[in-house]
Amino acid sequence: MRAIDPDAVPTVLVGESEQRQALSVRPTLASQVARGEAQETVRETVERMRTVELTIAYGDKVAVNRVSLTVRSGEVLALIGPSGCGKTTLLRSLNRLVELTPGANRWGTITLDGADIYELEPTELRRRVTMVFQQPNPFPFSIFENVAYGLVEGGRRPKRGSELEQQVVTALKRAGLYEEVADDLGHPALRLSGGQQQRLCIARALAVEPEVLLLDEPCSALDPISTEKIEQLMHELAREIAVVVVTHNLQQAWRVADRVAFMYLGDLVECGPAREVLENPQAPRTRDYVRGLFG
């Protein structure tokens, strides 16, 4: 067995992709290989969202302070930072969930494909920019109904027909859950295990075919095996859509992120390729934080 020595990492960095590979905790996994390839080829990324001087305050308390950031499809952006630094707030502002919090105020702009998201109808925006939460929160319905939920319009009874079913199955497959639940899609979702529930929530979000997927600490309530499955999933999804993930697990950021944004007390301190921010942070605050675990 290879002795893991995360401490040694920053100092011995030489070759790039090997290095990354070596740091990754799951180098032998198929997804990892796929990813390695993706990184070696120039992966095409497209800017989808952008915040400009975004400030969010709860009453007097500024939670996000003049943050300018881009979100690109084709890559995973990880938001890291100590507890309370505003990661969740920033994430929730991207699909305007933050405006549901009483007392929340916003300054600055957020755009989706160049259009101000505050000019969009919120439901429309949220359909394109969906979110998965820290706690798995399936609705108290069956598995099928959970995934179908976003697809079925209004109160009309859906055609139980093949189209809907097809879409549900596809979403479940993309979330890597289909195998496990194929037998009984009528099973109540709340009886699934935590990891399965979380993947169901992802499937539910994927079913509406979002363009940006926001994940707020999606693995913090899960065991390592479920965590691995979800990390793998993020990689795969990032090929097609933009994925933003909040995590306070730096190893996880290592494993999944292409770009990392470090926040501290509401400020966006540093944002750049994962390797650079995690290995060779420029800002002293980032360095302190990352060193807290790494060096």
């Binding site: 305007r96 405006e99 919090t101 109808e121 400020d267």
Partner: protein, 351 residues
Amino acid sequence: MAALMARVRGLLRTGAGAFPPRAGGVADAPANPADLRAERTLRGLAVLVLALIAAMLAFVFAKAWPSFAHNGLAWFAAGGNVDRQLTAIFNSPADPDRWVYEIRAWPLLYATALVTVGAVILALPLALLAAVFITEFAPRSLAAVLRAVVRLLAAVPSVVYGLLGILVLVPFVDHYLISDARKASVAGVVQLDGSSVLVATIVLTVMIAPIMIAITCDALAAVPRLWLEGALALGVNRWRVMRTVALRAVRPAIVAATVLAVGRALGEAIMLSMVSGSVAFAPNPLDGLTFFFEPARPLAATIVDNAEGLSVKPFAQTLYSFAAVLLVSTMALSFIGWRLRRSLALPGVGR
């Protein structure tokens, strides 16, 4: 950062700025039309009910006004005999200018307070202990039975309690608890015939305790298990945990339960008119034990007993003045309850 905070504060104060602060996140973008429709409809319903309530208050107070106006503050005082006064009002002459209004309602107010407070004082400890018993100490099968029992008792119609009171309890008290000597001791002042403060209070207690138990039980069940287990894990015994964590956390619920129970007690008419003795007498605590056997007639029971006379205008106005007093007391009660609940609420506990 500090500069920005100052700016934020400034903005909050002046309400100016690129994106003026919004309460509750009213979007500056087009809201969903379905949402707007739903909100408007539902708000309409709420306003409708509010209007109804306002109408009720206005109506009751308008109706009651002449009685208060004619009596002034003396309305609340003692003096003369209420039943005589009511009879006189009922027999008012036809000419509105000569309608009789004189009433000194103190004995009714006193009876209301006496019976209500008595019942709450009995019911509160009973309810708290029983709720703790059910949630913590009862064997599980017994707890399940008790929960059902409590809900059953809470749902028994008051007329059934009244029936039992008048056919069982009143005769029992009359026969076995009131001696002839006791009756003789107050002869000429008041008659003791079993319908009494005692019976009224006991039946009322049995009526309101289940309500309090049910609410307290629900609240106790909602106390996070983590708190209880956290306390147990510190080596604190189960009774103390219930007393110092669970009951403390549910104090707002206890207040709510008490307010509800007091409200029920204040407004209970049928049952009290059946068992409370139907004499507008003010029981005197100085009479010692006899006090408990003296009759008393609360406001609500007076309204029901005399509902037949609603068609006589001055009499109806007098009855409405009783109703108005009841309304004011229940409203004051829920206001006090609300304030109390707010000041007792612990951070992180629901409600």
